[in-house]
Amino acid sequence: MLAKASDRLPEPDLADAAWAAGVETKRRRRRSVLIGLIAAVLIAVIAAIGVSLSGDDNSQFIPPITPPSNTNYLAPDGQINGIDFWVAPPSGSERFLDRLETPLGDRLQQPDNVEPLADRPLDRIAAVVLDDRGDRYVPLLLGSDSSWARADVELLPIRTGTPLSSGAVSPDGRIAAFPQPGELVTVDVATAEVFRIKMPVQDIRSVSWLPDAQRVLVSGPGVAYRVLVGESSSGDEPLVAIAGAADPSAVTAPFRLDKGAVLRYMAGGQWTVDSALQLQLPVRAWVGQTFSVDSTAARLFIADNLPEVRTNSSQPQVVAAISTLRAEPSRLLILGEPTVMSSTPMDRPYVREPGCCAVLGWYDHNTPLFQVRGWVLAWDLNSGRVRRVTELAVAGLAIGPGIHP
């Protein structure tokens, strides 16, 4: 009966339809999974953006005062008229400081046998010292590869003694200039050529290069000249008289720390006070030349008695790294006195007497180099740390850009 009741149904053909529906279902499932994944990723991204934009927690984040990336950072010891200062390691402790590797080596002394510059031309000058031969001096030039060469010229002493100015080396490290009585002597280390340029006055004491490495400022007491050494592209006169200064070493370019202000060298041979940079520093006297890199100028001064740093046996001297930009801070490094002091005279050799020290140049954009008694030191402006560069066993020294490899 049941079979008879259902036997009039047509014969179906469901195989193809079922298979096709299965394929479509499978395709739809894959699509759903894919859309679900994309939606999940989108939700996660939107949630992450929302969290980052909410900002409630970020606004309460106080950045640490000490940059976390610079683990060597030393906090400044205080402020003088709003400028951070650090106190340098005491004299006698230089040997125990971390060392800054340079072509000068661990101890800079006069080499024994030096080849003539004509036989061994140099690429860039790292340092210049003078070989004292009684009444004559011979320049010895140290290249960036730590090799020595002797210039084929004999120099006479000047009024102040050795004819070596700390600004002797040109900014490109190729030429060294020496003040001589009544003339300027230049040595090209690539070609070993020596030029002698006559000066209008006899008493020449200081040289300082302009940044273009073509012109050099030559100065004596109260007089100064701009001398064209290289090729002139703008028809400059070979020798132009400019404004002089009582202290010949003060005549520097492009900046000059002098008279309680930063002075900027102008193309006409004048210096103008950078009005925004009036310095309120306790300067008794500036010492040595000003050396500039980018927007920062460095020079050493002998200070009046500093209430911030008490000294008993020495006059405090300060390396000033003054920024010409408002956004960049200026910094001071005070050369104090030995930590252990006694009244016995044996301590006197360790005291940094006025005149012992001066800025020599820059190792890189953040590291001025300066000379103290028997040592050349480097001061890292970013971290505040002082490192030793070399022990000095020579009388005078001028630094060139070849010191930085």
Binding site: M1, L2, D13, L14, A15, W19, A21, T25
Partner: protein, 164 residues
């Protein structure tokens, strides 16, 4: 899963679709619902073809379990005047499903219980009450009053045994 139909799947469906469609027709009381249910069951089988241990049980569970929905208000065999179909329409969906599987598919009560996810006692109860109501609807008396051999013959007549 290939785009073209698997030959084994096609031969499997061809061999069973006619019989299962007739059974589903009597279970659902509607040829369109029966065909839809069978197509759905075969589609699910196509998705898992070669991974199903017993395809017959797999398809039949999918085919008959939806008919047990007690909330379905769809009337079976509307606009029919065949007394057999009208008698089937008198049964509940569960009674009709058990009754058709027992007497048309000739499954045992245990097989039906496994297929419909019911206990054996439930299947037995549905089978007995459906048999009684079916007989009554066709004008027969209580089968328990009939001699034993006569009752067995009537049961064979319900399934239409010699016709298959």
């Amino acid at each position: 899963m290939h785009e073209t139909v698997d030959p084994d799947f096609a031969s499997y469906v061809d061999a069973r679709q006619g019989r299962w469609l007739r059974t589903a027709y009597l279970v659902y009381g509607d040829p369109e619902r029966a065909e839809d249910a069978l197509l759905h069951a075969f589609t699910r089988l196509a998705l898992r073809w070669t991974r199903v241990d017993d395809p017959d049980v797999f398809v039949q569970r999918l085919l008959y379990q939806p008919a047990l929905n007690r909330w379905s208000r769809v009337k079976a065999f509307p606009d029919e005047d065949d007394p057999v179909k009208l008698a089937l329409a008198e049964l509940t969906p569960a009674q009709r499903t058990v009754f058709v599987l027992l007497h048309l598919e000739e499954l045992t009560e245990f097989e039906v219980a496994d297929m419909l996810n019911m206990s054996h006692q439930t299947v037995h109860g549905h089978g007995m009450s459906a048999f009684s109501r079916f007989r009554t609807a066709l004008g027969g008396g209580d089968w328990r009053d009939s001699p034993r051999d006569s009752a067995r013959d009537r049961a064979r007549d319900i399934g239409g045994g010699d016709q298959r």
